[in-house]
Amino acid sequence: MDETIKRHLTGEERGGDGGGGSSDGDFESSMDRFPNHIIINVLEKMDLVSLCTAACVSPTFNSAVAYILPSLPSFDLSGFYLDEETLKHVVHRVQGAKSLTIDCLQMKNDSSIINILSDHIEDLSLLKCSHLSYDILRAIGERCPNLRSLLIEFAGLGAPDLLRMKLTGMLQKVSLLESLSIKIRGTLRDVFDVRPLVAFLPEGLKKLKLQQTGEMFFVVWLHTVRDIPWFKLQSLSLVLDVISDGLIRTVVDSLPLLVELDLEDIPFMEPSVRDLTNIGLQSLKYCRHLIALSIVRSRKNFPTSFTRVDNIGMFLLSEGCRGLESVKLGGFVKVTEAGFSSILYSCLNLKKFEVLTSPLLSDLAFDNMIGVARSLIELRLVSCRLLTSEAFEDLSLFSKLEVIDTSGCRSIGDPCLFYISSVTTVTKLNLAEADITDTGLAILGKGNLPIAHLCIRGCKRVTDKGIQFLFHDERKICKTLSVLDVGRIAGITDAAIFTIASTAKALTDLSLRFCFHVTDAALKMLVNRPNNNSSQLQRLDLCNCRGLSDDLIMLFQHKSAFRGLRWLGVGRNPLVNKREDFSKICKARPWFVVCFDDCEFGCHDGWQYHKSDD
């Protein structure tokens, strides 16, 4: 490898020998020049953005980066919203890359993606393809015959026949496919027809994820694959119209080797005969290898839930599936703490536990945690209105807990933060809508937890003081916090932003949604963060910040302001009137996206509606 480096560097080296550090003891004695293979060793351990920074350091570093870029195992550009030109140029530098993840928010037509497809690609993820057509599938089939894994998200085009045709075409060409994930969002009923998957089933398919499909179609498909001896699906994830006992029984029958099962339904009406009952949950025990289970009923189209499952169903589930390591249950409104705690007691290897919308889940479920799995890493209890702070009393017993999410649990107050502050491993904390106050934040601050993601959206009683208490200098959180959401808090004013701007050194994502009292002065403070020891702000959400004025546009027009900003949300904000000015700015910085609607960070919730753009 030393030879290659020397070849790279001839003609570019300037003054001073790079040194070789080779084994015959050729040692570079001058302390201001590192041997090149040490530099390469360091660079190989860095992420893409840091590599780009390093390339600008010197010709030596530039060559070293160029040398290692093509051999990096994967390229994850999902945090970037690149335009077609920049994407082409970036992918060109990493020719031969096997794994690509691309955020297609700014891709206006199919050709922008087709041009970067190559036969090296084995793993391809195309996110947020709001402007792409189903024809992309044909192109992928033709250009990426070695594809092992495909993930693609479409904005629904309402043309299921076209999808079927293109998908069929693709499946005929990608015989090595092991993982297929197709998500279609944004139309009311974009029902995915699985028939192509019957005729052209890739032999090695292990993982299948479809959004959304019809339960009846899918049951028919399952009956067909049951007779295929070599088909060994291990992971199934579906979004459908209704989850029924029949579906679950057929899944269990046809896919006995299933390791992961993830089902979500979005019914249009109250399910009648075909619905999930205790019997369906009981039949899951025949999937003997099941490790991850998720069953969720969404109320997006109709206010309904799993009314025919009660505690007995949960007892049967916990008894039959003791090996579960990840459990997510949503919409089980008749299950009480007895049912949920049976899972906690029974699954001794449980790492992730999530319960959504359970009005009967009370503190008692967590009453005696001493016997419970110590392996829990993620705990999410969302919109469970009976839960109070007392549920978290034994939280310190969980020595590996990293994620705590209590969003929507409005009866949780300051005492909860006292318990959480003793869990030293927590890195992601979501307390949206909790009834916490500044005192609570002070308690949390004293715990000195290394929090990286913090959301206190809608915690109405918090004020600037609370933020001050939390970000006391020298606390770990100042160095670790990268994502902060203080949206919908009337008590947040410029003073809080001043604290955040001066102490949160690693902040990359900041949401000030619906913070009415934040003014232009706050934004000026954010701009002036010294960049030498602070990170660059990448995503900023100012949706409905009524206290801002459209004079702010002048701030964004400075070339040095908000360098590194990738996404800005200005929906319902006076800046909405400045589309033309923003247009000019985005022309000069094509990797910068401004969202004039109400989307959250990166438009991850609303990209499918961005079809007609500025």
């Binding site: 040490i38 970037f80 970036v90 400075h558």
Partner: protein
């Protein structure tokens, strides 16, 4: 024949730093260094290391001793040691990596390089230059080109940031 109850005599080596200070160390531990291993094969027992100063040598010996007693059971212990080991200043780490490089101790080189990677992760171009002591030897044209190429990632790289408006 009664075997001796004591362990067999371990072969000791002497390492001499650039400042002429001598340190005794078991051969079985010292050969984690490729350079020392080579010299041992040429029958050296006193190993002069004119490129490694005393302070650095002491730290390296500490590292080798800890990693010399690696077994299945104390993996976590060694992880903790490694974590603490890299909590040093940049200057100290630089001396260590250059010494580890000279001594050819692969695991230590990797550990130190990872520590560097973690530390320069979010730093600016200027800061990286200072840390590694690398002068900015781009020509203005080269620098502009490299900056253009990478603007999308972080938008900094030039020494002088353009403050004009669009």
């Amino acid at each position: 024949m009664a075997s001796s109850s004591k362990t067999e005599q371990k072969k000791m080596l002497i390492l001499k730093s650039s400042e002429e200070e001598e340190f005794e160390i078991e051969e079985s531990i010292a050969v984690q260094s490729g350079t020392i291993k080579n010299m041992v094969e040429d029958d050296f027992t006193l190993i002069p290391l004119p490129n490694v100063d005393t302070e650095t040598l002491i730290k390296i010996i500490k590292y080798m001793k800890k990693h010399g007693e690696k077994t299945k059971s104390n993996e976590k212990d060694i992880e903790e040691f490694d974590k603490e080991f890299v909590k040093k200043s940049f200057t100290e780490l630089k001396e260590l990596v250059l010494a580890a490089n000279y001594l050819h101790i692969t695991s230590l080189i990797d550990l130190l390089c990872q520590a560097f990677a973690d530390r320069i992760k979010n730093k600016s171009v200027k800061a990286i230059r200072e840390i590694f002591g690398i002068p900015n030897d781009f020509t203005p044209e080269e620098e502009a080109e490299v900056y253009e190429q990478h603007k999308w990632a972080h938008e900094e790289g030039k020494e002088h940031i353009d403050h004009s408006a669009y």
